[in-house]
């Protein structure tokens, strides 16, 4: 567009409309992703030019990916959910209990999803109906539900080796044409979340709520109901992530979600979703999760000490958020420049 056809009277050709604009948000992250793979291959070709490392990524990344996808919607609505590690503890226990003690793994799946959704409903209600900021209330519910999981499990872990070879294990943790199925499930969830955010009425409502709750109310969006739904969906997705993890490991332990809090959130913001709400990119979160999930192995394989992993994640996170904020809002950069100039 760039206004080249001003006053020629020619109707603006719809084909020239900048639809790629909408997807531009995810382009830098995709470039970074492939550049990183290039770096890994450069430093450790014997590892990164072979399939097994990618195969293990496709097993380890999906749970975090599912979490990041759910969080993308949460962030789009200008909210945050810090309670998903607790859901992972709780839902994992519910599944493990049903599978191990009751020998009803499918009921366990339903319980994992339902338990997560229940946590989500309560979060959503506290946030939307009572108006408590989500960053505060989900800290509280996180303590509560991980405590409940510990109490219920008695702090014990479950070995679920009996599931080996069962239908549920093959459907959610086998391989299909050589590809780990959990990766396919994660991709399916990604497509679903993309469609919800970009094509569904619900996703649009979340974007407007994140943009401005006042505007959302004025245009007739039920901001309470939609946010309760949002947190419910997030809870169910965390339950699903927990289930995938438990089935893949064939074991449950009550601390299994704890390492994921920061990395799943980092994936979303590295991916380019706005920290202020109102704009979010599912494609960005997808590649953000892959980058985070591969960083550990990648850094170690390149010969740098594993101690550096978190330093690098931190750097990437801050750099990415600063860049995305600058790209998304040039006015903010100008204001910063002006302030720096005045200093001198």
């Amino acid at each position: 567009m760039s206004g080249s056809d001003v006053s020629t009277g020619r109707p603006a050709a719809p084909k020239s409309s900048p639809r790629w604009h909408a997807h531009l948000g995810a382009v830098p992250i995709i470039v970074v992703f492939f550049a990183l793979i290039g770096v890994y291959i450069g430093f450790a070709p014997e590892v990164f030019l072979r399939w097994p490392i990618y195969n293990s990524f496709l097993v380890t990344i999906p749970p975090m990916l599912v979490l990041s996808l759910g969080l993308t919607l949460v962030v789009a609505a200008g909210e945050i959910d810090l309670s998903f590690p607790a859901v992972i503890a709780l839902s994992g226990f519910l599944f493990a209990f049903c599978a191990d003690k009751l020998h009803l793994p499918w009921l366990g799946l339903a319980a994992a999803l339902g338990g997560g959704a229940l946590v989500g409903v309560i979060n959503g209600w506290l946030v939307a109906a009572l108006g408590i900021p989500s960053i505060i209330i989900t800290i509280g519910t996180s303590f509560f539900w991980s405590g409940v999981a510990t109490v219920l499990s008695g702090g014990l872990s479950y070995a679920l080796n009996d599931l080996t070879g069962t239908v549920i294990a093959r459907v959610f943790s086998g391989t299909l044409l050589g590809v780990p199925v959990e990766a396919l499930w994660a991709v399916a969830v990604a497509v679903l979340i993309w469609a919800i955010l970009n094509r569904h009425r619900f996703g649009e409502h979340l974007l407007f709520i994140g943009d401005s709750r006042e505007v959302a109310r004025v245009v007739g969006i039920n901001t309470v109901r939609e946010r309760v739904r949002l947190f419910t969906l997030m809870g169910a997705l965390a339950g699903f992530a927990s289930f995938l993890m438990t089935v893949a490991n064939l074991s449950y332990f009550s601390t299994q979600g704890q390492g994921l809090l920061l990395s799943a959130l980092a994936a979303v913001f590295i991916g380019g979703s706005s920290v202020f709400g109102g704009s979010a990119t599912v494609v960005g979160s997808f590649f953000g999760a892959m980058i985070i999930g591969m960083l550990d192995a990648g850094i170690v394989a390149t010969g740098v000490s594993g101690f550096w992993v978190e330093v690098i994640v931190g750097l990437v996170f801050v750099a990415a958020v600063v860049l995305h904020t600058g790209l998304g809002d040039p006015a903010r950069v100008k204001a910063l420049q002006r302030r720096l100039m005045q200093r001198e």
Binding site: M1, S2, G3, D5, V6, S7, T8, G9, R10, P11, A12, P14, S17, P18, R19, H21, A22, A195, R199, H200, R201, F202, E204, H205, L207, F208, D211, S212, E214, V215, A216, R217, V218, V219, G220, I221, N222, S274, G278, S279
Partner: protein, 282 residues
């Protein structure tokens, strides 16, 4: 029988041109009776009696905190009145079930100052949000929304060739353009009552002119409007009637012909200084 088919009591409105179902027999698009709104112990609106004719442009004026915004929020379902009655097209409204969505379906549309568009969202979303074109699973027909949005932009609003299309985000628009989008949205959904909340505040003079033209087009198309405005010159020139609010009450009903701009200004200043208002003027 002379001139059959004409509405008998077309007293308030001007001359509707084709819109607003002439055959139906309502006379007021909205009418409030003894409407009160309370926020905790504060009574924001006190026994409001107000009727808006079907093709009437009513200017709503009053000081900050006089209750102008609360009044339009009550009329459009954003705020629930604590007591009183509301009639839409002469039909009583169940206040308990009244909502923005319900007001939309009754063809009411509000253009809030700075607050009716999602900044980061493209125009095709902003035109349809709350009333999306969806299939039965709730998925939006983006292609259709985009097409209609572009059509409104070019045909109705004359945004052709200014580098704005359905994919532009609101953040890129000037203040006048934003008001234009919001008014264009109201017209597209065939609203019978368009409510404008200080649409010209903080706009450049050339932009103000655009907005006033948009408001005139509301009148021409046979619709009604409630127009909240700080700048008395703007309302005085446009409105069929001026309603003055002060501390939650209606203190005057004025036709611009009855009062010059100077008289009106003096009247409002006196009001501010606490001179007892004489109530329903003239």
């Amino acid at each position: 029988m002379g001139s059959p088919g004409y509405p008998i009591a077309e007293s308030r409105g001007g001359t509707p041109e084709g819109h607003a179902a002439l055959h139906s027999d309502w006379s007021d698009i909205v009418r409030a009776e003894k409407l009160c709104v309370e926020f905790g112990k504060v009574r924001a609106l006190d026994n409001i009696d107000l009727a808006i004719g079907r093709n009437e442009i009513v200017g709503l004026i009053g000081d900050n905190g006089a209750g102008k915004s609360t009044l339009i929020k009550a009329l459009t379902g954003v705020v629930r009145p604590s007591s009183g009655r509301l009639y839409i097209r002469d039909e009583p409204v169940d206040l308990y079930n009244y909502s923005v969505r319900r007001a939309h379906s009754l063809k009411f549309e509000t253009v809030y100052q700075e607050k009716s568009l999602g900044e980061k969202q493209p125009l095709w979303r902003n035109f349809f949000v709350g009333r999306q074109i969806v299939n039965r699973f709730g998925f939006i027909n983006v292609r259709e929304q985009r097409r209609i949005a572009n059509e409104i932009l070019q045909r109705q609003l004359g945004f052709r060739g200014v580098g704005i299309d359905a994919d532009s985000t609101v953040a890129k628009l000037s203040g006048g353009e934003r008001q234009g989008i919001a008014i264009g949205r109201a017209m597209h959904f065939d609203s019978d009552l368009i409510i404008l909340d200080e649409p010209t505040t903080a706009l450049a003079i050339s932009e103000v002119q655009k907005v006033l033209d948009f408001v005139r087009s509301i009148k021409r198309s046979g619709r009604a409007a409630i127009y909240i405005e700080h700048n008395l010159a703007h309302v005085h020139a446009l409105a069929d009637r001026l309603v003055v609010l002060d501390r939650g009450r209606i203190v005057a009903n004025i036709r611009p012909g009855e009062m010059t701009l100077e008289d009106l200004t003096r009247f409002l200043i006196d009001l501010q200084h606490g001179t007892p208002a004489t109530g329903g003027h003239a």
